[in-house]
């Protein structure tokens, strides 16, 4: 989206979108920004929910050239600036990749060498959002590691994880607690609860585990 007068955002923040019908009926929802603050245009990730109200409009009806009422950027907690350093532990489920992608892109655009590990859970290979871009970024950058897990179906020959994220997987992928990673966890509530609880049990400082929940009703 082109947003005239856009004054930038912090990686991890979200936007509110408000739709207004001709009879004045309105619906508002929040969507995370996936673009880097350095980018001129603002990119949001919208997961289409069949019984949703705003997401089907944005994915099916909205055309290039249409206007949108936007508010934001919003949220100052689930956000990362390159100067804050890391290492960064990013854990995403499904469309929860959006704010974390903004961080990965911001880190790249800012020329930061903060080590990053992204653990990303998707249902299937085709449903991995930003797969190609993540591959390209990781291939050219020894300090960015991307680990996928596929929970429902795997392509033939898949050698990666094949289950929901659990404590064992985090033990293998996450940094050691002594490295004091800054963790951002975003996805559906069960994933966030599991990951945040497991990280604390593994010895990570709860104050360095930031969460954001995504879902049909969680905003």
């Amino acid at each position: 989206m082109d947003v005239p007068g856009w004054r930038g955002h912090r990686a991890g923040q979200h936007m509110d979108i408000r739709l207004t019908a001709e009879d004045g009926y309105q619906a508002e929802r929040s969507y995370s920004i996936a673009s880097a603050p350095e980018n001129d245009r603002v990119e949001l990730v919208v997961e289409r929910l069949d019984d949703g109200e705003v997401s089907p409009y944005l994915t099916d009806e909205l055309r290039v050239g249409d206007g949108l009422e936007l508010r934001g950027p919003v949220g100052g907690w689930f956000a990362w600036d390159a100067e804050e350093g890391g290492p960064l532990l990013l854990v995403a489920g499904g469309s929860g990749i959006a704010p974390l992608m903004a961080m990965v892109r911001h880190r790249e655009a800012a020329g930061s060498d903060t080590p990053v590990r992204l653990l990303y859970s998707s249902r299937s290979y085709p449903e991995i959002i930003f797969r190609g871009e993540l591959e390209t970024l990781a291939a050219g950058d020894g300090t960015l590691e991307v680990v996928h897990t596929l929970t429902r179906s795997r392509p033939e020959g898949w050698s990666g994880y094949d289950r929901r994220i659990d404590a064992e997987m985090l033990r293998e992928v996450a940094y050691q607690p002594e490295e004091r990673p800054l963790a951002f966890v975003c996805g559906p509530t069960p994933l966030v609860e599991t990951v945040a609880t497991a990280l604390v049990e593994l010895g990570h400082d709860p104050a360095r585990v930031k969460t954001e929940r995504f879902g049909p009703t969680g905003g």
């Binding site: 739709l19 207004t20 206007g67 508010r71 905003g219």
Partner: protein
């Protein structure tokens, strides 16, 4: 956001059921589930270590253990709740101890409270928004002990304000002469948070 803007091709699907629209504040939509929102890991404090404290601008702080807190008179109430992330939920049923009960006999000139929680969360409110039958320390939701992800063992319940004011995992109220922004109030969210005036963010 501007006035008079129409979203081309948008008709809206989720009209609220008959008789409920006047209960849904502007910009909100109804949900049946109970979404979970919080900024960090869910704290899990054993009940034996749990306590609730009234402190700050009072003659002496008062603290209740879990058993002492459970022995206080509890009220049952049914209220609509409204989250700043746009969902509202009607007719939620709670049991808890009225803040009026906890403040009985407390002499204070304070005008504000800061609720504080396990995990470091805080939220600020004018004292008059949590007294006079407006706020509870809730321990039961829909007849069951309040689940940890929803703020159990006990959360502040201030249903007339956006739900971030209803601090999960609450452990005490600090009475203060001056107002002091809490966690979300320091991070761009409105200081007061009235859903009917759509006070979501700074500047609303």
């Amino acid at each position: 956001m501007g006035r008079g803007f129409i979203s081309r091709g948008f008709r809206g699907r989720r009209r609220e059921p008959e008789g409920t629209s006047e209960r849904v504040p502007p910009g909100q939509y109804l949900v049946d589930g109970f979404p979970v929102l919080s900024a960090g890991p869910t704290p899990r404090t054993p009940l034996l270590e749990w306590s609730f404290t009234i402190e700050g601008e009072v003659d002496g702080p008062q603290t209740w253990s879990w058993d002492e807190f459970q022995a206080l008179p509890s009220e049952r109430l049914t209220r609509d709740i409204h989250c700043v992330t746009k969902w509202s939920k009607l007719d939620t049923t709670w049991e808890g101890v009225s803040v009026d009960t906890l403040l009985e006999g407390v002499e204070t000139a304070a005008g504000y409270v800061l609720a504080y929680s396990d995990g470091g969360y805080t939220t600020n409110l004018p004292l008059e928004e949590v007294t006079g039958g407006k706020a509870w320390i809730a321990h039961t939701y829909e007849g069951e002990p309040l689940a940890p992800e929803h703020g159990g063992p006990a959360r502040l319940l201030v249903p007339h304000l956006y739900f971030w004011k209803s601090a999960k995992w609450v452990r005490g109220l600090r009475l203060m002469n001056g107002d002091e922004p809490g966690f979300w109030e320091s991070l761009g969210y409105h200081n007061f948070g009235d859903p009917w005036r759509e006070q979501r963010y700074w500047g609303d």
